[in-house]
Symmetry: D2
Subunit: 298 residues, 4 copies
C-alpha cells in the first residue's frame, strides 16, 4: 500500500521502519533531513510537504509532538488536507487533547476524509519492536480498515469508540498511572521510614488490595523489581516530562469539562517540581526520590 | 489448646467461632454479654476480665477497635499482662498504630511474654469464612508458633518482620488502596465527562499501566464489575469510615516519622468530606460520587 | 482624544462610558449591536471592524474575554494591526496569559506600535464607578502616555514592569486570593465545628497572623462582614467561574514555566467541583459551603 | 499574689520572670534544675512537684510542651490537682488539642477548681518583652480574674469563649497562617519565574485582594521585608517544626470532628517534607525554598 507517513521523531521513525519492512511504499515528511535520508535509504520516498506526501496516498499516518503541530500539518496551507483525496482513510497517532483530535477530524470529514485518532503506549522500545498498543477512536468501518496496518506497528489495537476516544482513553489511563506511581512511592517510603523491609512490603502489597502495575511491574523502590527503571538509576523508561505532558492534557481536558481531578492535579504539581529540579529526563518513577530522606543510603 | 480470646466484635466473634470449630477451648472476654452468651453456648468459657481470661491460657489473642482499648486490655490493672504466665505466646489482631504495638509488646517482653501484632484484611466476610489475611510482626520463633492457629482463622499468614511490622504493612497497603480508589474515581469520571464508554475505558485501563485492584476487581463505577459494591448501591464492603480510620493511622504514623504523604493526606480529607456528608457508612468506593455531576443518571 | 475602544461587554461598556463622559471621541467595535447602539447614543462612533476602529485613532484600547479573542482582534485580517498607524499607543485590558500578551505586543512592535497589557481588578462595580485598579505592563514612556487616560477609568494605575507583567501581577495576586479564600473557609468551618463562635474567631484572626483580605474584608462566613457577598446569599461579587478562569491562567503559566503551584492547583480543583455542581455563578467565597456540614442551619 | 508556675522552658521561663518583676511570689517547678536555680535567684521558691507547687498557691499557671505533659502535670499522682485547693483559679498556657484542654478542665471542675486554657502567640521575643497575645477559654468570671495577671505577661488578652476555645482559636488561626504562607510562596515564586520584579509584585499584592500578614509583614521572599526572617537566612522566627506541630493539632482536631481541611492537610505535608530534609529548625517562611529553582541566585 502507498502510505503517507508524516512525523519521523523518536516514535515515528521506528514505526515507519516497521511499515517499510512489511512491504509498504511510504511517502515521508519531516523537518529533520537526516532521518529522511535514513528512511529513504530503506526504500521510502521523500516528499516536499505534508500536502505532497498525502497526494496519491492510499492512507495517511501522522505522529507529531503536540496539538499545534497536528493543526498545522493537517490544516495548514501545505497541509495534508490540501493534498489528500476524498475517501482516503487517515489516522493521527500523536498524543494530544481530545478536542483538537475532534476538530481536525471534523475538518477532514468536511472534505470526505474519515480520520481516526490512535495514540499509542509502549514507548520507543515498543515502537522499535512493533509491540505498541494503539488506542483508536474511529467509526467501526475505519477501525476495520486501519487495524491490519496498525497491527504491523503494534500488538494491541483497541477500539475505544468514535473519534477522540483514543485520546480520552490514553489521558485517563495515564492520569491514573501518574497518581498510582505517587501512591506507591508514598506507601513504600512510609514503610521504609517506619522500619519494614521494602521487599517484604512490596510483596504484601502485590498480593493485596494495593496491587497495581506501578507496584508489581514498575516498582519505584530500587531493588524490588529487577527490570524496572529503579534498578538502573531511573534511566530508559517513561520520562517524567512525558508524564507531565500527559497530566497536563488530562487536567486541561478536565478544566474544559468542569470535571475536578484533585489527586491528578496534585500529582501533576509533584512531577512539575521534579522537572523544575532538573530531573524531568529521568523515568517518572524517580518521583519516589521526593519522598526519601536520604537517597544516598541505597 | 486453651486459648484466651478477648474482643468479640464484628471481627472477633466469627474468628473465635472458627477456633471453637477447630476444637480449641476458649476463655472469652468482652463487654457485650449477648455475644459472650452466644459463644459460651458453642462451648467457650466466660471470663471475668482480660486478666482472668489470660490465666492458665496457652495462647492469648486480642481483637479490639483501637489503640486505647489495646493499651487498657493489656496494660490495665485487670489486664492480660496481670494474668498471663511467662513464656505464653500472645498476639494482638487489632489494627492500631505501630508504636502502640511496639510499646505493648515491649511491656509484655519485660515479663517474659513474646507478643506479635497481626492485623487482618478480608473484612467480616473473611472472618466468617476463615479466609482472612494476617500480616504478622513477630520473631521467627513466635511466627512459627502462631502460624497454625492463625491458619484456622485465615488463608494467608504473612510474616512481615519483627513486632510492629504487621501494622506497618497494613497501613502502607491501605494508604495506597485509599489513593488508588480516588485515582480510579477521577479517571473514570473524567472519561465519562469527556465522552468515552466507561466499560470500554475500564477494560483499557485493566489491560494497561493504570491496572490496579481498585479498577479491575472493585471498580467504583456502577456497571463495570458485577460483584463490586458499586453494583449494589455501595453497601456491604469496606466502609469509608474504616478507610478513614486506616488513613488516619497512616498519616499519624507518617507525622511521627516526619515522612510526607501528600496524596495520602489529600485522600484522607476527601473521605473525611464524604463522612461529614453522612456517607461514612457506605463502601469507600462511593468516593466516586464526589466526582460525578449527576449520580442520578445511572 | 480620538480613541478606538474594542470589546464592550460587562466591563468594556462602562469603561467606554467613562471615557465618553471625560470628553473623548470613541470609535467603537463589538459584535453586540445593542450595546453599540447604546454607546453611539452617548456620542460614540460605530466602526465596521477592529481595523476600521483603529484607523485614525490616537489610542487603541481593547477589553476582551480571552486570549483567542485578543489574538483575532489584534492579528486577524480585519484586526487592529491592519488599521493602526505606526507610533500609535495601544493597550489591551483583557485578562489573558502573559505569553499571548507578549506575543501580540511583539507583533505590534514589528510595525512600530508600542503596546501595553493592563488587566484590571475591581469588577463591574469598579468599572461603572471608575475606580478600577489597572496593572500595567509597558515601557516607562508608554506608561506615562497611558496613565492619564486609564486614570479616567480607574483609581490605581500601577506600573508592573515591561509588557506582560500586568498579566503576571494579576494572576499571581489572584492565585493567592483563590488560596486564601479556601484557607479562610477551612479555618472558619473548623472553628465552627469545634465549637467557637465564628464572630469571635474572625475577630481574633483579623488581629493576628491569619489576617487577610479574604477574612477581614470578604469573610465567607455569613454574618461576619455585613458588606460581603456571604451576607447576601453569595450574589453580586466575583463569580467562582471567574476565579476558575484566573486560576486556570495561573496554573497554565506555571506549567509552561515548570513552576510548581501545589495549593493553587488544589484550590483550582475545589472551585472546579463547585462549578461542576452548578454553583459557578455564585461569588467565589461560596466555596465555604464545600466545608459546612449543614448550610441549612444558618 | 502567691502563684504556682510550672513549666519553665523557652516560653515559661521569661513569662515567670515577668511575674517576678511584677512583684508576685512564685512556687516554681520544672525538671530543669538550671533554670530553677536561675529563677530562684530572682526570688522564686523551688517546689518538689506540681502538687507541692500548687499547695497554698492563689493561682496556678502551667506552660508545657504537649498534651501528654499537661495530662501528667495536672492529673498525675504528684500533679497539680493533688495539691490545689478548691476555689483556686487555674490556667494552662500550653498549646494542645482542645479535647485535652476540656478533659483536664473537667477533672479540675470535679474538685471545685475553675480552669482556663490560654495558649499564646508572640514567640520567645514576646514572652521576654511581655507582649504576648493570650487566647483565653474560660467562664467570664474566671477570665475577669485572670486578665490582670495575664496582662503582666502579655499585651492582648482575648476572651474566646468557654474552656477549650482558646486552643480552637489558636489552631484555626495557625491553620490559616500555614496555608497563607505557602500561598504567598507560590505566588511570589510564580511571579519570579514568569519575570516580574518581586518587590513590585509584593507591593501590588499588599495593596490588593491577596493582601495578608504572610505577605505584608512576613514576606518569605528575601529582600521584600527588611525585618522578616527571609532577610536573615530564615533564622529567629517561628520554626517550621512549630508550625508543623500546630498543623498537626489542627488536622487531628479536624479528623475527630470529621471536618475536611484539604489545603491545611497539604500544607502540613509540605512543611513535613521540609522537616524531613532537615530544615525544620528554620523559620516556617523558608517553605518558599521548596518552590525556587535556584535559591543560590539571590
Amino acid at each position: 500500500m502507498n502510505i503517507a507517513f508524516i512525523g519521523l521523531g523518536n516514535m515515528g521513525a521506528p514505526m515507519a521502519r516497521n511499515l517499510l519492512k512489511a512491504g509498504h511504499s511510504l511517502n515521508l515528511f519531516d523537518l529533520n533531513q537526516t532521518v529522511l535520508a535514513e528512511l529513504a535509504a530503506l526504500g521510502g520516498t521523500i516528499s516536499a510537504s505534508p500536502r505532497d506526501a498525502a497526494q496519491g496516498a492510499a492512507l495517511v499516518i501522522t505522529m507529531l509532538p503536540a496539538a499545534a503541530h497536528v493543526r498545522s500539518v493537517w490544516l495548514g496551507e501545505d497541509g495534508v488536507l490540501a493534498g489528500i483525496a476524498a475517501g482516503t482513510p487517515a489516522v493521527d497517532c500523536s498524543t494530544i487533547d481530545p478536542q483538537t483530535a475532534r476538530d481536525v477530524a471534523a475538518a477532514a470529514a468536511r472534505q470526505g476524509v474519515a480520520m481516526a485518532d490512535a495514540p499509542v503506549s509502549g514507548g520507543t522500545g515498543g515502537a522499535a519492536a512493533g509491540t505498541l498498543t494503539f488506542m483508536v477512536g474511529a467509526t467501526p468501518e475505519l477501525f476495520a480498515t486501519l487495524q491490519p496496518v496498525l497491527g504491523q506497528m503494534g500488538r494491541n489495537i483497541v477500539h475505544c469508540g468514535e473519534v477522540g476516544t483514543g485520546q480520552i482513553a490514553k489521558i485517563c489511563n495515564n492520569l491514573l498511572l501518574g497518581i498510582s506511581m505517587v501512591g506507591v512511592s508514598e506507601a513504600m517510603a512510609l514503610g521504609d521510614a517506619l522500619g519494614i523491609d521494602t521487599q517484604v512490603l512490596a510483596s504484601i502489597i502485590n498480593s493485596s488490595t494495593g496491587r497495581c502495575w506501578s507496584s508489581d511491574t514498575y516498582n519505584p523502590w530500587p531493588g524490588v523489581i529487577e527490570t524496572a527503571p529503579a534498578a538502573r538509576g531511573y534511566t530508559g523508561g517513561f520520562g517524567a516530562d512525558l508524564m507531565l505532558k500527559d497530566l497536563g492534557l488530562a487536567t486541561e481536558a478536565a478544566r474544559q469539562a468542569r470535571q475536578p481531578v484533585i489527586l491528578g492535579a496534585v500529582a501533576q504539581q509533584l512531577y512539575q517540581a521534579m522537572s523544575q529540579r532538573g530531573e524531568g529526563g529521568k523515568d517518572f518513577s524517580a518521583i519516589v526520590n521526593s519522598y526519601r530522606k536520604s537517597q544516598q543510603d541505597l
